[in-house]
């Protein structure tokens, strides 16, 4: 066989093998063509003005008081007195301008989510208490994604006539006045409640993975209580917590659902994600390069956060697993004051954070929900509409088909890329490793805008051209976007599977005369099939609920639109019905629960949802 110098350098094997080259080059080129180049296309537009390279758009954004405003405008809370003589404090947040608002919101959401996530993770990892199983299940509930409806219920909870005021003002009299939370403050609450389980999962895994002997040694030397936590436990768990926190930061930055739901208050519109979205969808005629520039700013912030955490985590990769396997976890009974915190503070907090999902289900079966604490009346009309109205069914089928197609691509991409990066050590290995994980750091709205510029320039006047008003078919573009955006979930799972298969199992096969192809299909794939399946299900579930690209490019031709574009439409229009959107939300929740249960049954392990490290 021929010895190839460049194969050795690039792929780490001196024999040129088509399957190995394909495993490297297919995912590599796919991500470059469908992620890197579209983003670069947008970069070119953002940096040009009147045909020249220019910082014009960035200058115009960063010097406009609409985008950056110091000192901030507005009052944090406004006091009003109702006709019945009750005091209501309206909390909206203050306006620093679009760019800074996004940063402030993302930072606050990250802080709140990290605090809640870490506290819940710590009690779940270290304490044995009555009702722990309820906590365990409940903590998964906020992870069930229902775009828009979730935030809608949260908005209702924090109305002056909502659940929060009912409990804390009317029932318990803890609040001396009514509060109403709207605007940016509402967005912060909605996002924090939605995203804190991401920190929880990462933090929980970190606490569980701390070698108990490390803490026992510290105790043995006289450390205890909070000192032990501060000096040993927390520092060891911090990389995991920080990884979860970074994800929350990026998710908050790119989130569109909460700003769209809270857009009744104009302050909620003053976020980068919303601005890109609305300038894109409602821009008349030519879309301004300002959109591209704003996308680049958002991308830069997200990528900086991502690179920061990667650097930090890789610097602090503690090799904590002592050789020889499992240990007995450090679990103890809480002291009375700790139990009090668990039942009096954390349990109600947990119940509040799972209320949105409960509210979605109630809403789907209700006649109306205006200013009452709970939705009113019972009807199955909306569920029937969802199941039998051919228009609604079309959106569901679109989403199912796009997601299924994306999953096929994702499986191919994750298997090839993981095989290449786990089995060969060419110079392309670290490149591919980074490319596979980088979609996490690219906000969905940035992908959408990148695709918009890319496909309108490269395929003008074809069905792939989003500016081609009457004949644009978003199917292909959406499948691509889903496959790129949801790739990291699956790739991580497959890579983990490959790491558990000792390479000698493949070597033995080839050594006995099997080809590379036969070895991969006959030995490797059967051994990692559960990981492939788990990853594929996760990617499918998150493709179904993909929002950013779906509600922008996907809504340009409603005949081919996905479910999320339709949900956005009915949530945003005055004539729309939140109940129908809620019914679709219930459908998504059902799909998610079924998938998770299926994965758990088949792979016999609790599936980690989202992680970064």
């Amino acid at each position: 066989m021929k010895v190839s110098k460049w194969s050795e350098k690039l792929f780490g094997t001196p024999l040129f093998e088509p399957l190995v080259s394909f495993s490297y080059l297919f995912p590599l080129l796919y991500i470059v063509v469908f992620l890197i180049i579209p983003v670069l296309a947008m970069l070119a537009i953002a940096f040009s003005h009147e045909g020249h390279f220019s910082l014009y758009w960035f200058k115009s954004i960063l010097t406009s008081s609409y985008y950056v405003q110091f000192p901030p405008q507005g009052d944090f809370a406004i006091k009003t007195v109702t006709a019945t003589g009750e005091t209501v404090y309206l909390i909206r947040g203050i306006d620093f301008g679009v760019v800074i608002n996004s940063l402030v919101v993302a930072a606050l959401v990250t802080l709140l989510a990290s605090l809640m996530g870490t506290i819940f993770a710590f009690i779940m990892a270290r304490y044995e208490f009555k009702g722990k199983n309820f906590f365990r299940i409940a903590l998964f509930i906020p992870l069930l994604v229902t775009p828009f409806v979730n935030a809608y219920v949260i908005k209702k909870m924090f109305l002056d006539t909502g659940l929060i005021n009912y409990i804390f003002y009317e029932l318990l009299h803890i609040l001396p006045f009514r509060i109403k939370i709207d605007g940016l403050a509402g967005v912060v609450l909605a996002q924090a409640m939605t995203y804190y389980p991401i920190v929880y999962l990462n933090a929980y895994a970190s606490f569980i993975n701390i070698d108990p002997t490390l803490e026992e040694q510290a105790e043995n030397l006289g450390s205890k209580g909070f000192h032990l936590f501060r000096t040993v436990t927390f520092p060891l768990a911090l990389p995991g917590i920080a990884a979860g926190a970074t994800l929350v930061f990026i998710f908050s930055l790119e989130d569109l659902a909460a700003p769209i739901v809270f857009q009744g208050d104009p302050l909620a519109k003053k976020l980068m994600s919303y601005q890109i979205f609305s300038k894109f969808l409602y821009g008349l005629g030519e879309r301004s390069p300002e959109i591209a520039a704003l996308s680049i700013i958002m991308l830069t912030l997200a990528v900086l956060a991502f690179l920061g955490i990667r650097k930090y985590v890789s610097l602090r990769q503690y090799a904590m697993l002592s050789k020889g396997g499992r240990w007995k976890p450090r679990v103890s009974k809480p002291k009375p004051w700790q139990a009090a915190i668990i039942y009096v503070v954390l349990l109600p907090l947990l119940l509040l954070t799972i209320f949105p999902q409960i509210g979605v289900v109630l809403l789907a079966f209700s006649k109306q929900w205006s200013v009452t604490v709970m939705p009113q009346g019972f009807t199955t009309e909306y569920v029937k509409q969802m199941l039998f109205n051919p228009d609604v069914r079309r959106y569901i089928i679109n989403s199912l088909m796009y997601s299924a197609a994306a999953v096929v691509l994702i499986v191919l991409l994750s298997v090839t890329s993981s095989y290449a990066t786990s089995r060969f050590k060419g110079v392309l290995t670290p490149v591919l490793e980074s490319l596979v994980i980088i979609p996490i750091a690219v906000p969905g709205i940035v992908v959408a805008m990148g695709y918009f510029y890319f496909f309108s320039q490269v395929f003008p006047n074809t069905p792939l051209d989003p500016t081609n008003i009457f004949s644009f078919n978003p199917a292909f573009v959406l499948i691509l976007a889903y496959s790129i955006r949801r790739l990291p979930f699956s790739a991580r799972s497959v890579y983990a599977g490959l790491q558990q298969v000792h390479v000698s199992l493949e070597e033995a096969s080839m050594n006995l005369g099997a080809s590379r192809w036969k070895t991969v299909t006959g030995i490797l794939l059967p051994l990692i099939s559960l990981n492939v399946f788990g990853g594929a299900m996760l990617s499918f579930v998150y493709s179904m609920s993909e929002t950013s690209v779906g509600i922008t490019l996907g809504s340009l031709n409603m005949q081919y639109a996905p479910i999320t574009a339709f949900m956005k439409d009915i949530m945003m229009s005055a004539a729309g019905s939140a109940q129908l959107a809620a019914a679709l939300g219930v459908l998504l929740i059902t799909v998610q629960i079924l998938s998770i249960v299926l994965v758990n049954i088949i792979t016999k392990q609790r599936y980690a949802f989202i992680g970064l490290t």
Binding site: H502, S504, M510, G513
Partner: protein
């Protein structure tokens, strides 16, 4: 009929990043012999094995099976079948399917596959286990399946990578003679890798002792043990006394060497360097007078009782020398710190150049 091969390695060089794993290895393994690569961990013996198996490729040098160059032939085309240290049994296949795998690749007819698998199972004494999965087998049984899987394809060359290292002591002895028996029955060329010198001595026709990426010596077990050519080989092949010394007189092949205040005359030495080590096996030191002997007078440092032998550690100046005896009488008169005399036949004293 099975075609046995002769294996030749010419100047094999292999680096991993900055580290040079093999610094130019030359080896010649003959038809039908059981040849062992012996050395401490990290000496390059497993790398050599993997390069012969086609699982790694050298940076420089060539490999021949008989007259055919196979240096860059892929593992699947090479026919040098490896039994992995961890056995590498596929957990999702039964014992039968594991063993039949290589035959199915060759697209043999079904009944012939069955016949051969039965033959292999019989050879490794595992009849009746064909429907078990690897996880349902003990370590020794897994080892047998791995060997059966390799020999059933009638390899030109069988490669064994530390095959006994995962077995307990008793099983190790049993499998060692099993492997020797199978090799003799089949008359197959076997390349065996181990770090255990006793195992290597017991099983091999010839041994290559390796150290930091080079071959130090090739020879029969007896040659390697009795006539080590380097200080490393001498000290690696079992417990021995290695005493730094200096050549003070030469007369042809005969030299006089000196350590501490002891002068040893009439020893054989041909190398040019004057810095040497004296190598004496503990069991070749006598505690009572013998013929043609060098006499060393010193002090008893320790007497250690091992059951079937006794070791006496003597102090000669600052130098400790160990003598081994099986006779209680030899040690009855000895006391710690008391005087002792070691008698060593001149032919049992090796003088080797000191390793840098």
């Amino acid at each position: 009929m099975r075609k046995l091969v002769e294996v030749k390695l010419e100047n094999i060089v292999k680096t991993f990043g900055e580290t040079v794993a093999l610094k130019g290895i030359d080896l010649h393994i003959k038809h039908g012999e059981l040849f062992t690569l012996l050395g401490p961990s990290g000496c390059g013996k497993s790398t050599t094995l993997r390069i012969i198996a086609g699982l790694d490729f050298p940076d420089k040098g060539r490999i021949f099976f008989d007259d055919q160059e196979v240096t860059y032939l892929s593992s699947s085309e090479r026919g040098a079948v490896l039994v992995f240290q961890n056995y590498a049994l596929w957990p999702h296949m039964t014992v039968y399917d594991n063993i039949a795998y290589g035959l199915k690749i060759k697209k043999l007819p079904k009944d012939e596959i069955e016949k051969k698998v039965r033959w292999a199972l019989q050879l490794v004494k595992l009849e009746g286990f064909e429907d078990r999965y690897p996880t349902q087998l003990s370590g020794g049984q897994q080892q047998r399946v791995a060997i059966a899987r390799a020999i059933v394809v009638e390899p030109k060359l069988l490669l064994l990578d530390e095959p006994l290292s995962n077995l307990d002591a008793k099983l190790r002895l049993e499998m060692r003679s099993e492997i020797r028996r199978i090799q003799r029955e089949l008359g197959i060329t076997v390349l065996y890798v181990t770090h255990d010198q006793e195992e290597a001595m017991a099983i091999s026709d010839r041994i290559a002792v390796m150290n930091v990426g080079t071959v130090e010596q090739v020879g029969t077990p007896r040659e390697i043990y009795e006539k080590p050519k380097t200080e490393f080989v001498a000290s690696f092949m079992g417990k021995t006394n290695v005493i730094p010394a200096k050549v003070v007189e030469r007369e042809g092949d005969k030299v006089t060497v000196e350590f501490e205040h002891f002068r040893l005359e009439g020893l054989t030495y041909t190398d040019k360097s004057d810095k040497v080590v004296i190598v004496i096996r503990p069991e070749r030191i006598s505690l009572h007078p013998i013929e043609n002997a060098v006499k060393l007078e010193g002090k008893v440092d320790l007497i250690e009782y091992y059951g079937f032998f006794i070791e006496v550690v003597g102090m000669f100046g600052e130098t400790r020398i160990i003598a081994r005896t099986i006779s209680d009488k030899d040690v009855m008169s000895l006391k710690p710190q008391g005087p002792v005399t070691f008698y060593i036949n001149r032919d049992d004293i090796l003088v080797l150049p000191k390793q840098l």
